[in-house]
C-alpha cells in the first residue's frame, strides 16, 4: 500500500464556495493509505506547491492526489513540483473538483459528496500508479526529401540552410518536377525556368544536399528520429561521377525516335538523353527500352564518342541504405489520363491537347521553339477553345470529386498569353465557375476578360468532333444566353484534373501514413497541423497533400522544413511514457493489436521462452515501440488475451476508478 498525500485546493472561492473543502479533506483523510490530507487556499501558488513538496519529503509519500481544477490546467505544474521533491511525476493524480464539480453544481451537500467520490477515485487510481520514465530516443541529424519538384527542392534548401544534411530522392533523371515543364507562372507571368533553375543549381551545389536522381525509395523501417531507408538507384548506364553533360552522345545516338516525356511526347529524343538543357544533375541517361546496344548488343556509338568513358552498359540497379531523423514527402501530382473521356476526342485528334502540353507548345525550349503551332499540321491556330473542369468535380467513376484548384488560373494565363502574342486569335473559355481566391488572382482573371478580350462563356463543352477539313467542331452550351454553340476551332485545350502521383500509395504504406480516398496524404490536423502527417517524423510538402499552386507549394515546403528542422535540432526526443506494452507471457501473437494501431507502433518478434520442462520454445509476440506509440489504447481493447495494457491508464487503474465511484 502506497503512502498517499491528499491536497484539497480552495481555488479562492471557486471551489470553496460550493464544496466544503474541509469536509472533503477530512473524509479523504480516512481513506486507506492516506497519511496526510490538507486543504489550502491556492494549491497551484508557490506556497501551495511548497506544501506538497514538504509533505512528500516529510511523510515519504509514494503518491499524491490533488483535488483542484482540471488536469488539463495544472497537471504539469504539480508533476513538476513532485519531481523537484524527488517523487516520480507520474505518481501524481488530479481529482477535478472545479470544472467538473464546484462550477456546475449549486447545492453544497451534494457537491461535497461528489467531490469526495472524485477524490476517492483518484486515490484508488494512484494506489496502482507506477513510476514512469520518459524514454529518450536519439535523433539522426539527417533528413530525407522524397520528390525533387519545387516542393522538395524548397524543403531541402531550407533544411540545408539550417545546417543539416538532406538527401533528395527523385525518380526522374533530373530534379525540377512539373514546374520545370511550365512556361510562365501566374499571376506575375515570370518565366518558370528563370525562377526554378537557379534553385535547382543551388540545391546541387549546396554541400549539405545530396541528390539521388533516377532513384526510388524501396523500403522504410524505423520511427521518428531514427528511420532506416533503402533507396534503389536505378541503372542509368552512365557513370554519374564521370559524365560531364557535354551532350555529344545524345547528338550522335542513332536512335532518335523516342517520345520525349519532358515535352509531353510532342517531339522525339534520342535513346541516350538529358531531359532538358538545365537538368540537374546534368548527366545523360540511357533508356534501355530503346537503346539498340542494350536491346540487341549492336551499336555502342555513345561509348565510342564519350571522351571521359562514362558509358557503362553493364551498370546494375544499386540499393543504398541510409539513416534519417525526419522524412518529408513531396511526391507531387500528375494530370489524370483521359481515356474515359471520348467526348473530348483527345485520343483521336492531335490538336486537342492538355494544358500541360500547351505549356510545352508555348515554351521557348519546347518542340516549336516557342511559336504556338498546331501539332497536326504546324499551322497557326486562329480559334482556340479552352475547356475547364475536365475530370475535376466529377461525381462519377471517370473523374475526381475535388476541385483541382489551379486550372482556373493557368487557363486565364494561357488565354492571356495567346491573346498577347497572337492578337488575331479568338480565345473561348468554357467555365462552370471561375475560382480565383488568392492574392492578385481575381484581378488577373479580370484582366484576361477586360484587357485581353478573352471570351469567357458559362457553360460546358459537350462534344468535340474532329472534321475532315482539319477544323475541330466544338458543341457547347452557353447557359447565360440559353443557346447551344457550335464553334469551328483550330485547337482545343483541356484543363485536366490533377491527381497524386501513382507512387504515393505504396510509399504511404511504407511510411505507415494515412491517405484519403483520392490518394492525397492526410495531414495530422486539417487546420492546426497542416504539414505534418499523423505519423511522427513524417512531414508533407506540396501537392501530395492536396492540389496546390506554386506559391502555396513553396510555403508548405518551407513549413515542412521548419517542422523537420525543429525535430533535427533535438539530440533526442522525449517520448510520452504513457504507452502500450504487452505482457509477453500472455501474448498469443494473433496480430489483432497490430491491425488497429494507427501508428504502426506494434511489430512482432520471435522470442525465446524457457518452458517449465526446461526446453526452449520460440513464440511470436507483440512488441510495442514506445517511441512511436502515442498511447491511444486501441490495442488494449483489441487484445483478446488481455496481454496489452497502457501505462498511466492501465486496465486495473480504470477498474479501480470505476469501483471507487460505484462504491
Amino acid at each position: 500500500m502506497q503512502r498517499i498525500g491528499v491536497f484539497v485546493c480552495h481555488c479562492g472561492t471557486n471551489i470553496a464556495a460550493t464544496v466544503d473543502v474541509k469536509a472533503v479533506a477530512e473524509a479523504l483523510g480516512h481513506e486507506p493509505g492516506v497519511v496526510i490530507s490538507q486543504d489550502y487556499q491556492y494549491m497551484c501558488s508557490e506556497s501551495g506547491q511548497n506544501l506538497v513538496k514538504d509533505a512528500i519529503k516529510e511523510h515519504d509519500l509514494g503518491g499524491v492526489v490533488i483535488c483542484s481544477c482540471s488536469p488539463r490546467m495544472h497537471e504539469n505544474t504539480f508533476r513538476k513540483a513532485a519531481a523537484s521533491a524527488g517523487l516520480n511525476p507520474y505518481l501524481v493524480e488530479i481529482a477535478n473538483i472545479r470544472e467538473q464539480c464546484s462550477w456546475i453544481h449549486k447545492d453544497i451537500a451534494t457537491a461535497t459528496e461528489k467531490a469526495i467520490i472524485l477524490g476517492k477515485a483518484a486515490i484508488a487510481k494512484v494506489h496502482l500508479n507506477t513510476p514512469l520514465t520518459s524514454m529518450e530516443s536519439p535523433v539522426v541529424k539527417r533528413a530525407l526529401v522524397i520528390g525533387g519538384g519545387i516542393a522538395g527542392i524548397q524543403t531541402a534548401l531550407d533544411i540545408a540552410e539550417a545546417g543539416f544534411d538532406v538527401d533528395i530522392v527523385e525518380k526522374q533523371p533530373t530534379i525540377g518536377g512539373k514546374m520545370a515543364q511550365i512556361d510562365k507562372t501566374f499571376p506575375t507571368l515570370d518565366c518558370a525556368a528563370c525562377i526554378l533553375t537557379p534553385k535547382m543549381v543551388e540545391a546541387s551545389q549546396n554541400e549539405h544536399i545530396t541528390i539521388h536522381s533516377f532513384s526510388e525509395v524501396e523500403d522504410v523501417k524505423g520511427f521518428v528520429g531514427n528511420f532506416t531507408v533503402k533507396i534503389r538507384k536505378k541503372a542509368r548506364y552512365v557513370d554519374e561521377t564521370k559524365c560531364t553533360g557535354c551532350g555529344l552522345c545524345t547528338e550522335k545516338c542513332p536512335m532518335k525516335k523516342v517520345p520525349n516525356e519532358f515535352n509531353m511526347g510532342l517531339d522525339n529524343r534520342s535513346a541516350v538523353y538529358i531531359p532538358f538543357a538545365q537538368a540537374v544533375p546534368k548527366v545523360a541517361t540511357i533508356d534501355p527500352n530503346y537503346c539498340m546496344m542494350l536491346k540487341n548488343g549492336k551499336c555502342g556509338v555513345c561509348s565510342k564518342v564519350c571522351s571521359v568513358g562514362a558509358i557503362d552498359y553493364k551498370q546494375q540497379d544499386r540499393i543504398i541504405e541510409e539513416k534519417y531523423g525526419a522524412i518529408v514527402v513531396a511526391t507531387g501530382f500528375n494530370p489524370i489520363k483521359l481515356d474515359k473521356y471520348d467526348e473530348f476526342a483527345y485520343n483521336q485528334c492531335p490538336d486537342v491537347v492538355t494544358s500541360l502540353e500547351l505549356e510545352r507548345l508555348m515554351n521557348a525550349a519546347g518542340p516549336n521553339g516557342g511559336t504556338l503551332l498546331r501539332p497536326s499540321d504546324k499551322t497557326h491556330p486562329h480559334t482556340i477553345v479552352f475547356v475547364q473542369c475536365v475530370g475535376s468535380r466529377c461525381d462519377d467513376s471517370k473523374g475526381k470529386p475535388y476541385c483541382s484548384k489551379i486550372c482556373c488560373m493557368y487557363t486565364a494565363k494561357h488565354a492571356m498569353l495567346i491573346r498577347e502574342k497572337y492578337p488575331d486569335t479568338e480565345v473561348y473559355v468554357f467555365y462552370i465557375d471561375v475560382r480565383t481566391p488568392g492574392k492578385n488572382f481575381d484581378e488577373f482573371y479580370r484582366r484576361a476578360v477586360e484587357q485581353y478580350n478573352v471570351h469567357y462563356i458559362k457553360g460546358m463543352v459537350g462534344k468535340v468532333t474532329p472534321k475532315s477539313d482539319g477544323k475541330i467542331g466544338v458543341q457547347a452550351s452557353d447557359l447565360l444566353s440559353n443557346e447551344q454553340l457550335h464553334i469551328d476551332a483550330d485547337m482545343v485545350v483541356l484543363a485536366v484534373a490533377i491527381e497524386p502521383d501513382k507512387t504515393a500509395r505504396p510509399l504511404a504504406t511504407m511510411l505507415t501514413t494515412q491517405m484519403d480516398t483520392n490518394d492525397f496524404f492526410t495531414e495530422a490536423h486539417p487546420k492546426l497541423r497542416p504539414v505534418e502527417s499523423a505519423t511522427a517524423g513524417i512531414f508533407l510538402s506540396g501537392a501530395c497533400q492536396g492540389p496546390k499552386d506554386i506559391p502555396e507549394t513553396v510555403a508548405q515546403g518551407s513549413a515542412a522544413a521548419a517542422k523537420a528542422i525543429g525535430l533535427l535540432c533535438k539530440n533526442s526526443i522525449t517520448c510520452n511514457p504513457c504507452t502500450a506494452h504487452s505482457n509477453e507471457l500472455m501474448c498469443n501473437g494473433c496480430s489483432s493489436c497490430e491491425k488497429v494501431c494507427p501508428y504502426g507502433a506494434i511489430t512482432y518478434i520471435d522470442k525465446e521462452f524457457r518452458m517449465p520442462d526446461r526446453t526452449t520454445a520460440i513464440r511470436r509476440v507483440a512488441s510495442v515501440n514506445p517511441a512511436v506509440c502515442q498511447g491511444c489504447g486501441a490495442c488494449t481493447v483489441a487484445c483478446p488475451s488481455g496481454a496489452m495494457d497502457l501505462s498511466g491508464f492501465s486496465n486495473s487503474q480504470i477498474m479501480a476508478e470505476v469501483d471507487a465511484i460505484c462504491k
Binding site: 467526348e343 462519377d396 462552370i432 457553360g459 459537350g462 457547347a476
Partner: protein
C-alpha cells in the same frame, strides 16, 4: 409549385437533382437542343424548383430522343434524360391516356419521325 408532382417526378426518375452543379454539359452535348424550348439543364433546374407543370405543357418533353448522351457525360451523375422521361410520364399519366396498343403503332408512324426516336424508346428501359 406542386410538391406532389415534384415528388412523383423525383421518385419515378430516381434522380437526385441536387447533385447538379450547373455546368451545362448536358445541354452542350444534346443533339436535339435546337428543337427544345426547355433544355436538359433547365429540366433539372426546373424540377428542383418544382416548376413541373410548365415542363409538362411544353413540347420539349417529346423532343428528347432519349439518346442518353447527357446521362453518359454528366460529371455529377445526375441523369437528365431520366428527368425528362419522368416529366413525360407525369404528363401522360395526368391525361389518363397511356393506352396505346401495339397494333395501332404502324398506322401512327410518321415519315418524319427520326429513326433514333424508335430505337431509343427501347433503349431507355435498358439503362
Amino acid at each position: 409549385m406542386n410538391k406532389n408532382l415534384k415528388e412523383q417526378v423525383l421518385r419515378s426518375s430516381g434522380v437526385n437533382v441536387l447533385k447538379c452543379m450547373r455546368c451545362g454539359k448536358c445541354s452542350g452535348t444534346c443533339p436535339s437542343y435546337d428543337e427544345m424550348e426547355y433544355h436538359p439543364h433547365q429540366f433539372v433546374y426546373m424540377v428542383e424548383k418544382g416548376d413541373i407543370e410548365t415542363l409538362m405543357k411544353s413540347e420539349s418533353i417529346y423532343k428528347c430522343l432519349t439518346c442518353f448522351a447527357c446521362v453518359d457525360r454528366c460529371p455529377r451523375g445526375v441523369q437528365p434524360a431520366k428527368v425528362v422521361e419522368a416529366v413525360r410520364l407525369a404528363a401522360i399519366r395526368q391525361q389518363d391516356g397511356n393506352h396505346l396498343s401495339p397494333d395501332q403503332i404502324p398506322s401512327l408512324l410518321d415519315e418524319d419521325l427520326p429513326q433514333q426516336a424508335i430505337v431509343t424508346a427501347m433503349r431507355k428501359y435498358a439503362k
